[in-house]
Each structure stands twice: as C-alpha cells, then as structure tokens.
C-alpha cells in the first residue's frame, strides 16, 4: 500500500527533517516500494513467538553509581556551533 504525501510529511515532521517537494515525492515512491517488500513478514504466524529485543544472554553490566571525572567544559564546548558564557547558545524557546 503506497504511502500518501500526508503520511510522508507526518513522518518527516516526527523525524525533524525539512524536505523539499521533490524529496517528499521521491521518498514517497521509494519508501512505498521498501514497505511493500517488508510486508513479506506478515506471511509468518508469530503468535507463539517471543520477541528478541537483545541478543545478550546475560543482563547488561551495571557499574556502581559513583562520581568520577568527566570531560572539561572547554573540551565539551569545542565542537559547539554557538557558545556564550561557557554554554551552548540557542534561540529563545519561550515566547
């Protein structure tokens, strides 16, 4: 079942992607083809099959929650696109 343009726009919004009209049209066609292929999975009856979320045979290891040194602020900010007063700078988020 092909995706509608509205569905493509909705997914792009959820994924925070600004797309051009041309991209929307192209992805609509390509994603529809991929979803058609993926629909093959519906052939299988999995009602008695548990889901595999993790391959690990044992529980993940937890470490003691103790303070330890982290990266210095200047190191962390070195890659930031915009910095002010030792903080990441962004446009205002409150009206």
């Amino acid at each position: 079942m092909p995706l509608t343009l509205q569905e493509v726009e909705h997914i792009a919004t959820l994924a925070r992607l600004e797309l051009s009209a041309e991209e929307k049209a192209r992805y609509r066609q390509q994603l529809s083809a991929i979803l058609d292929y993926i629909a093959k999975l519906q052939e299988l009856d999995t009602s008695d099959i548990p889901a595999t979320a993790s391959l690990l045979a044992v529980e993940s290891h937890l470490r003691p929650d103790e303070p330890r040194p982290g990266l210095e602020v200047d190191v962390l900010l070195k890659n930031a696109p915009q910095v002010e007063q030792n903080q990441f700078k962004i446009p205002p988020v409150f009206e």
Partner: protein, 503 residues
C-alpha cells in the same frame, strides 16, 4: 626485497622486532603509497601524516632503548606481550572516534567534528603500540553497501577502479587490498566488514555481538553494530581481534567471556587439520540470482575444507529469506533513535534559524544525505503509533525465528560456510537511485547480525573479470576461534589472499 607495504601485519611485526626495518620506514612507505594511489582510490577521509610519523619515531626509540639496554630476552618477550603492535600503522574507519582526528561518519552533519576521546577498540590497539595513520571512507553513518552514500565521494575498488569496493567499510577494505596499510578497522551492522572484504579480496571479521566494545563508535543499529577488523590474512585479523576483544566498563553490552585459545598449529594433524570438524552448507544461500562464478568458487573452497579433514553437511536456515525485511525494520528503527542526537545544538554544523525547532528541521534536512533520511523515516514510521506492532513488533519476533535457525544448525555442525554476497563487486552507479536493489546486496550477511553470531570473510577465488570472490564462515556465539581455525587451514593451502591488485 619486496616493498615494505607488501608485508602482512605479522611479517611487519617480525621485521620490526628483528631490527630489519624501522617503524619510520614502514610508516613512510605506507604514507608514500597512500599519496601515490589516493587520487585513484579515495580510501581515506583524513590522514594523520605528521602524527603518524612522530608516533613511528617514538616506537623506533622504544625498540632502540630496549636493544641498547642490553635488555634481557625476558624484557623483549615482555614487549611482545604488552605491545604486540609496536610501530605498526593501521587505518580506522571514520565512524570510530580517535582523539585529535576528525570523525565525520561520512556525513556533512559531523563535518569538522573532533571527538574529545578515543574509541576503546582503537585505544586498545594504540596501547598495544599501533599507529593510526588515517580514517577511512564509509557510507554515511555506515548505511550502505558500496561507499556511494559517503558525502565525501565514493571509494574505488583497487581491482577495478570503475567498481565499488563494497561497504560500508569500503575505505578500509580498499586500503588493505591496495597495500596502503597492513590492516584496518571496520564495523559491521549488516555485513559492512564482510561484504567489502569479499569485494576487495581481503580477510574481514565481524565478531560476536558483545565481544568488542562499541564505546566511541558512532551508533547506527545498537542491537546489531559490531566493531571488526580487516587484514590480508586470518592470523593478522585474529591478532587485532584478540587485542580489541573483551569486557569494557564503558560499554555495558560487552561480555565477560574468556577469549578463545586460537591454535594455528595443526600439530600432529598436519595433513588433516580440520579432522573432526563439521561444516554446514546452508541451501538457502545458493539460490537463483547468485553469480555462477561465485557459487563455483565457494563450492570449490568447501571441497578444499573437506580435503583438509572437515566433514561437510547440508543444513537449512529456513527463515533466511526474512532476514532482509527484518533488518530493514530493526536497523532503521534503531537508527531513527540513535540519529536523533544530531540536532545542530551541541556539536556539528548548524543551519541558523529563528526558532530551535527550525534549527532541528533545517540542520537535519540539509546535512543528512538521502539514504540516511530514508532510513530515519522508515524507522520513524515503523515505530510510530498504529504501526509499531505490525512492523517493529513483528520484526523482533521473526528475529527470534532467525536466531533459532542458527541455534538448531549449530547443534548439528560447528561452522557454517556460505557466500558473502551474491555477486562480485558491481560497477559504480549500478544501482542508481534504487535503494531496494542496493539492500539486496546484503542478503547473505544480514542473518549473522540478527543472530549476533560471528562471521569471517576471506577470498576464495576470482571471477572472469578478475574480481575477488569471498566466502564467509559463521560460528556459534563467541566461537571466533573455530572460524579462525578453519579459514587459517584454508589459507595454508590457498594463495588467493596473497594476490595483489595491479593498481
């Protein structure tokens, strides 16, 4: 004497220890060959010429100091154990963080990013004395099978530069095949070490899930991602694996499983080194559409394994055909979450806008490439309200069936032997703008990632066009030792892995 760049990793190690060559000579030879061949290959995204040269000098001083101090044999043997890679240059796929080198993951969204730490896998190799000579090309965020999805241009296959090297670790595979470096690191989420190893005629390992730390790896599909190694011989790859593997406090998914005792010496069974070993050949991997020469080479290699004493049996992995649809739900779903962090706020470039939301939309919309956007959207859709059970939930259940297939087969045999990819390296541009056609390149490699089992690819022949054919061995969880044993026995009687591209 043949050029220094022809030395395998183990040969280089011996020559350095015996004082026959210096690390400076070896590193310079690599850098010179890179300078000469990069214009036609484009295997690297960043080179660390100066850093590598000074690391090489430091390594040489360490060797000299040991010899001058009339060091006892035991001191030298100690060095062998603590720094087995002293003075050896390696390349690292540009999805693994190395301090003081850029890390782009082949993406514009990480352009100019310098990670403030080094990935554990790389750190362990550096602690063992290895020198990082540069970062290799990759499909953007390791999403692809050809390096054509790299923002920074495609890597060319050293056997035929009009063809792709495979992907996503295509830069590493091309660099090893072209003798630019003795070995390199790659990553494998759906075949990204094994398929380029096959296309370039080198040996490449995807370890068991949880065997090698992913700390410092740019995350793609976290239930699938593995850090692996590419080299020219099984021994070289095994050495890197042994150094990288093991529990890491910085990656909670790494497991406390003892490292295997890898026996390369066949001992008394010199003529039949694989006696007592059972090898399964899955019928589902020899299907319509597979290139005849690929099938012929792989079957001939299986005959060689039989002649070395292995018992060969037909086995079945009945859910193999579902691996592709399962993978293209799970990997994009995980990617859509992992790639949410690229928002133009804390690192990477930002497209400036009036509101923070518009910064997100614009930065991501303009800096991610098409394949990454497609997978983020596919994953977002599969996880979205109303579709979650039908897509993500169903894929996780079918993953269980695929995992069980492997468990059942490994009750009957020790190792599975199969082709790595249905064809040899395809021409650049062959799949145009058809993502599904590109996905089909991975049909034979995806199952191992979904089941978490190790896979080892190595060359077993060439097709009529002179392009390498690869075979892969898969084993049970944490049984890399069996893969090494079988592939090493093969490499003792075959010489495909010593063939050199004419570039």
């Amino acid at each position: 004497m043949s050029p220094l760049t022809d030395l395998t990793l183990l040969e280089a190690q011996t020559a350095l220890r015996n004082g026959e060559i210096s690390s400076r000579e070896l590193t310079r030879a690599c850098l010179e060959r890179i300078a000469a061949l990069e214009p036609s290959l484009h295997a690297f995204l960043h080179l660390a010429n100066e850093q590598a040269a000074s690391r090489a000098d430091e390594a040489d001083q360490e060797f000299v100091a040991l010899r001058k101090s009339q060091s006892t044999n035991s001191q030298f043997i100690n060095l062998l154990f603590t720094k087995p890679l002293l003075g050896i240059p390696l390349a690292v796929k540009d999805v693994l963080a190395v301090e003081n080198l850029p890390c782009t993951a082949g993406s514009k969204i990480l352009e100019g990013f310098f990670p403030p730490f080094t990935a554990t896998a790389v750190k362990r190799l550096q602690d063992a004395g290895a020198i990082v000579i540069g970062k290799t090309n990759t499909d953007e965020f390791a999403m692809g099978s050809s390096t054509e999805n790299s923002t920074y241009g495609v890597t060319h296959n050293p056997w035929d530069t009009s063809r792709v090297p495979g992907g996503s670790s295509g830069g590493s595979a091309a660099a090893v095949a072209a003798r630019l470096v003795p070995a390199a690191l790659g990553t494998d989420t759906g075949g990204s070490v094994r398929q380029p190893a096959a296309f370039c005629g080198v040996t490449g390992l995807k370890p068991t899930y949880g065997r090698v730390s992913r700390y410092g790896l740019v995350a793609y599909g976290s239930s699938l991602d593995c850090v692996g190694a590419l080299g020219r011989t099984v021994e070289d790859v095994a050495l890197l694996f042994l150094i990288m593997a093991g529990r890491d406090a910085l990656d909670a998914t790494t497991q406390d499983v003892a490292l295997p005792d890898i026996k390369f010496d066949a001992g008394a069974d010199r003529d039949l080194p694989l006696r007592g070993l059972r090898i399964g050949v899955p019928q589902e991997y020899f299907v319509r559409g597979i290139q005849a020469e690929v099938e012929a080479s792989v079957r001939a290699a299986i005959d060689v394994l039989e002649s070395l004493g292995a018992e060969v049996r037909d086995v079945s992995l009945p859910h193999s055909e579902y691996a592709l649809p399962v993978y293209y739900i799970l990997a994009p779903a995980e990617a859509s979450a992992n790639l949410a962090r690229y928002d133009g706020i804390r690192y990477g470039p930002r497209i400036q806008a009036e509101s923070m939301w518009d910064i997100f939309y614009r930065t991501r919309g303009r800096k991610f490439g098409a394949e990454v956007e497609r997978r983020i959207m596919l994953g977002t859709y599969a996880l979205s309200a109303g579709y979650y059970d039908a897509y993500y939930g169903q894929a996780q259940k079918v993953r269980t069936l695929i995992k069980r297939d492997f468990e059942q087969v490994f009750e009957q045999v020790d190792v599975i032997a199969a082709p790595v990819a249905p064809t040899t390296a395809f021409p650049i541009g062959a799949h145009g703008d058809d993502p599904l056609a590109m996905y089909l390149e991975d049909v034979f490699t995806l199952p191992a990632n979904l089941a978490g089992v190790p896979g080892l690819a190595f060359p077993v022949g060439f097709d009529g066009k002179g392009l390498p054919v690869g075979m892969q061995l898969m084993g049970g969880h944490f049984r890399e030792d069996l893969l090494f044993r079988v592939a090493h026995a093969y490499q003792q009687v075959a010489d495909w892995h010593f063939r050199k591209p004419g570039i």
